[in-house]
């Protein structure tokens, strides 16, 4: 098992190097050099320009520059934001919990609805329920979520007034920042109203962000379940006289979940991309909104650092999924 994990870890290294290469050259593809970028509209006089170039090591060969970049990255130095003068990593870390909180709620929403819907659709294959699940999930999969967000907002916030329009919590509440997760922090604050406010702020964004993963999970669960239900070992289980519930939930589901877990893990990418849109619409102070604003402000260190961190996170989650896959599937665990 350890060997299995180690081998997977080794495979991640080249991918990570590739990502750093990408972000390193990304910034160099932009017309104009970094000094001019930093100076912006004002411009820089040539003498000062040369001095800054030397100071930042930009006059050295590209390979050396890359080595410096890697060394910085490994030390956790991802540069400073041009607009706020804050270290990029620090900005990221303060905003990240908000994105994680939203993504987790969205994933939870997607799993709680998508998994049972997929299982039931497979068990009742060909029924009206099955057809509805398939149609709804394909619609969800095709959904432009920014529009979906607006529609939900229009109906539930504007017309019905059930949920707040944007933000993480009502402005009348003040909650101490302990963990960065508003749900936990508001619980700790002992103010019931704050917790309820936080929860109601989470509902619409979670639904919006969870829509595509929900569709993917439901479809994947259904097809995986259908495949497993046709396997010989399901017939064996039934021949033992097991109750249908036991056959479906113990014998079939365990096997059907293996690809589903992989798919849920792969949704991390979808979630982070979706977070950019969702956070922008709901004014959710998270990483996605931060990145888009940085692009509009042409704050390149933030763009560069942000993309590097997000990509690294996705790789790590995929690695985790891979390892988890090995734990669930004994055939992988025993060598091969």
């Amino acid at each position: 098992m350890l060997q299995f994990i180690f081998r997977r870890l080794l495979l991640v290294v080249p991918t990570f190097i590739g990502i750093t290469l990408l972000t390193f050259f990304l910034i160099r593809l932009i017309p104009g050099d970094p000094i001019e970028l930093l100076a912006g509209e004002r411009g820089v006089d040539p003498a000062r320009h040369a001095m800054l170039m030397a100071q930042m090591g930009l006059d050295q060969p590209i390979l050396v520059q890359y080595m410096h970049y890697i060394a910085d990255v490994l030390r956790g130095n991802l540069g400073t934001s041009i607009s706020t003068r804050e270290p990029v990593l620090h900005e990221f870390l303060t905003l990240f919990p908000a994105t994680v909180e939203l993504s987790l709620c969205a994933t939870l929403f997607a799993i709680i609805i998508g998994l049972p819907a997929g299982i039931l659709a497979a068990v009742k294959r060909g029924s009206v329920f099955d057809h509805s699940v398939m149609t709804i999930s394909l619609t969800g999969y095709s959904m432009p979520i920014f529009w979906w967000a607006l529609l939900l907002m229009l109906v539930f916030s504007v017309n019905l007034g059930w949920t707040p329009v944007s933000g993480r919590i009502d402005v009348t509440y003040w909650v101490d920042d302990v963990t960065g997760f508003m749900l936990i922090d508001s619980l700790l604050s002992d103010d019931k109203g704050a917790f309820i406010s936080t929860l109601s702020h989470l509902i619409l964004p979670s639904i919006v962000l969870g829509t595509i993963p929900l569709a993917v999970i439901a479809r994947m669960t259904r097809s995986s379940m259908l495949e497993v239900l046709g396997e010989d070992y399901i017939r064996t289980a039934r021949a033992k006289g097991l109750a249908p519930k036991r056959v479906i939930f113990i014998h079939a589901l365990r096997n059907a979940l293996i690809p589903v877990i992989t798919v849920i893990g792969l949704q991390v990418g979808t979630l982070l991309a979706g977070a950019i849109l969702t956070e922008t619409i709901f004014a959710w102070p998270g990483v996605g909104k931060w990145l888009i604003e940085a692009i509009h402000r042409r704050d390149y260190p933030v763009v560069q650092g942000g993309i590097l961190i997000v990509a690294t996170l996705i790789i790590l989650v995929n690695l985790l999924v891979d390892i988890l896959y090995g734990v669930v599937n004994p055939r992988i665990r025993h060598n091969k």
Binding site: Y233, T236, A239, K240, H251, H334
Partner: protein, 329 residues
Amino acid sequence: MALLSIKNLTVTFGEGDNPFRAVDRISYTVDEGEVLGIVGESGSGKSVSSLSVMGLIDYPGKVKADELTFDGSDLLSLSANARRKITGDDIAMIFQDPMTSLNPCFTVGYQIVEALKVHGGGSKKELKARAIELLKQVGIPAPESRFDNYPHQLSGGMSQRMMIAMAIACNPRLLIADEPTTALDVTIQAQIIDLLVNLQKARGMGLILITHDLALVAEVAHRIVVMYAGQIVEMAPADQLFVTPRHPYTQALLRSLPEHSAGHARLQALPGVVPGKHDRPQGCLLNPRCPYATDRCRKEEPGLQPYPGNSARMVKCFYPLNDEGSPAV
């Protein structure tokens, strides 16, 4: 009274006025301690008929029968719950491909204990002890350590032994073995058959042995049922069937065996294939492939009748073969 009694069992797939009959009005009985061989080409409805005895035919398949009784109780009128109490307990089944018939996610020990638990139960320790005892009975070396193996760690022969252990776990009175050796190496096949027969004798079980391998049932079965396109075409005591086949199809099957065609220059094969969903002929289903077919065979369908002068034998043919192997006209 017969242990299992089937009368006019029909299994259909598909909707409409003319659904496909995978099994077509078959009747047979199995007694306690009897080995019944069911023989036929693939697609002849052997497996489907036994799955319907197990209650494992799913929608869109439909099972109909005038009688389907096990030990006097009508299986078709039982509730799904009551039916499951019999399935896996009194009637057990093993399948063709042992490698895919065991759940890859659980240890074999777990899967055997599960069978014990669902039809009886007992403490965890007891169950494990019984499971290991079963593994010993089916001839698995070092059963204690094999108990914790996953299916992919076992060979095909070993997996089939596990399947047998699981099937006999609850002391079934009837065991159905559906092509139990087809997926195994030739060297293992005889071992598995020996094991099945020894267990059958020791426990006095009824055994239905389904196979397309005539040579195999010849040695083991007491009585043999020959199926073609979902129908029974001949039923006879094993020793008689091999000497004097009464149905042209049985004759053709026997002639395709190497040991039966010693006198001929080459093996005789039956031309054509078993009719499928769309190409069922009128009259006797065998008529396009039958060398003796007459106009009557193409228009009318013969019934399964006792062979004149021998009530132990049934044959579904207008012109059953005589002792010389030619049709009685």
